[in-house]
């Protein structure tokens, strides 16, 4: 940038350094040459020298009192200042960790909730459809035998022998109720169930038909819901630990913050009484 005299910022910097003797030999020689040619530069140099002399000539202020230290002044200050800084830092750190733990939990919970919601809704919808169907048209589910196979093994009317078995595996009272599933052709909603792999309703009487969503071969096995129990317990344990951590951080933040505040006010009072 040039001013009205055509002196650039670089010229100003060089002139300023020139009066302090802070230019190299080469820079000084170059500036001397330019000074010999330019009256404007000479005038600015004179102005700068006048300013430097005036500032340097400002009266030297004498200390209004002695600033000598006493052992008490130094002792009283140092540890307290360090303590205050330490507690303040601890309080801030604990608060940040607490917020991180809290926010982390909220985010994780949000993910779990979002992940579970569609499945739960789907299940609810399926149950609703099933109950509607049951009211209109009672369902009959067959498991492992076709009506033609009735009587094989002497099961009688109420007994539903397992496919291929000659004897009923359960007493009549405990054996599953014979329900025949009739798939209404006009209701694509049931056909459109996305869980085709699990709900294989297409082949009743083949021995692979489902009863209440379970395959016959899964009888006697532990169902998935029961397998989730330890996971639930673990999750509960993790939540408890998290609560303890959050509580601990909150208490730490409060206590250290309080101590820092007390130290701060004590220090302030000390400074005011000095």
């Amino acid at each position: 940038m040039n001013n009205k005299l055509g002196i650039s910022n670089k010229d100003w910097i060089n002139l300023s350094a020139y009066i302090d003797g802070a230019l190299s030999e080469q820079e000084r020689a170059r500036l001397d040459k330019r000074l010999a040619e330019s009256k404007d530069l000479q005038q600015e140099l004179a102005n700068l020298q006048r300013l430097k002399a005036a500032v340097h000539a400002l009266p030297k202020k004498k200390a209004p009192r002695d600033f000598m230290l006493t052992p008490d002044m130094v002792k009283a200050r140092k540890p307290q200042a360090n303590l205050f800084a330490s507690f303040r830092l601890a309080s801030v750190a604990a608060t940040i960790l607490f917020l991180v733990a809290f926010a982390g939990e909220a985010i994780l919970k949000g993910n779990i909730f979002q992940g579970q919601q569609p499945a739960a809704l789907e299940m609810e919808a399926a149950l609703s459809r099933e109950s509607d169907q049951a009211v209109e048209d009672p369902q009959i589910i067959t498991w492992g035998y076709s009506p033609e196979a009735k009587g094989l093994g002497g099961g009688g009317v109420g007994g539903a022998p397992m496919a291929g078995s000659a004897e009923p595996l359960m007493p009549i009272e405990e054996s599953p109720v014979e329900i025949e599933v009739e798939i209404p052709q006009g209701e694509p909603s049931l056909m459109a169930e996305p869980q085709e792999e699990e709900l294989d309703l297409a082949s009743p009487g083949t021995g692979e038909a489902l009863i209440l969503g379970l395959r016959p071969e899964t009888e006697g096995q532990v169902i998935e819901a029961e397998k989730d129990a330890p996971r639930e317990q673990e999750r509960g344990l993790n939540t408890t630990t998290l609560r303890w951590v959050q509580g601990g951080l909150a208490v730490t933040a409060l206590i250290t913050g309080l101590i820092a505040l007390i130290l701060h006010f004590r220090r302030k009072r000390l400074i005011q009484t000095k």
Binding site: S16, A17, K52, F67
Partner: protein, 202 residues
């Protein structure tokens, strides 16, 4: 006793030796603080803080100019004090008498910068200079005070303000440019030996 011996004794915990150093440098430290802060009580606080800090950090001094090392501490103490005063201004903005009446024009609200036509003598010129120095940004003010008031060279100032020499050069040039502009109209107050510094008289 020489400076190095005093420093060594102070490092061993001799408070008397340390206070000898304080007495040797307190005028220089206070003058620098005053020129940076333009306020006596604030400069006093900053100087006291600087000497306490100097005692606590004496073990970090590893030779070189002790004055430059101390000036660094004084400059930092001034910055701290300026920040502290900005955060917590100590003067009420609505002045009242002891009876609670509002004062319309308290003396401390008057602009103490002298007007060119009112300035009469060197003390007024000093006020004008101090006013213009005070009007500079902190970074420019510190450089001009350290070079032109405390008489430090560029290298020392660069170490004091933790900046390269190039930055010192440019800040100083800028500060002087601003001071020139601010002081227009006050130059006739200078004594003759300053005033005659024109092109012919250089």
């Amino acid at each position: 006793m020489d400076e190095k011996a005093l420093i060594d004794m102070a490092l061993e915990g001799d408070m008397n030796a340390f206070n000898h150093l304080v007495l040797a440098y307190q005028d220089m430290a206070f003058n620098t603080a005053y020129r940076i802060m333009s306020d006596g009580p604030a400069a006093e606080d900053a100087t006291q803080e600087a000497f306490i800090s100097m005692y606590q950090k004496l073990h970090t001094y590893h030779g070189g100019s002790f004055k430059a090392w101390l000036l660094r501490i004084v400059t930092n103490a001034c910055y701290d004090e300026l920040r502290r005063r900005k955060r917590r201004p100590t003067v009420a903005l609505e002045p009242e008498t002891d009876e609670g009446d509002f004062i319309e024009s308290p003396s401390w609200l008057e602009d103490d910068a002298p007007k060119p036509d009112e300035a009469l003598n060197n003390s007024e010129l000093e006020k004008a200079l101090q006013h213009c120095i005070q009007a500079l940004d902190e970074k420019y003010r510190a450089v001009v005070v350290l070079v032109d008031v405390a008489g430090e060279d560029y290298e020392s100032v660069a170490a004091i303000i933790h900046s390269p020499i190039g930055t010192v050069k440019s800040r100083l040039a800028r500060a002087r440019q601003k001071l020139q502009h601010c002081l227009q109209g006050f130059w006739e107050l200078l004594p003759a030996n300053f005033r005659l510094l024109d092109v012919e008289g250089k």
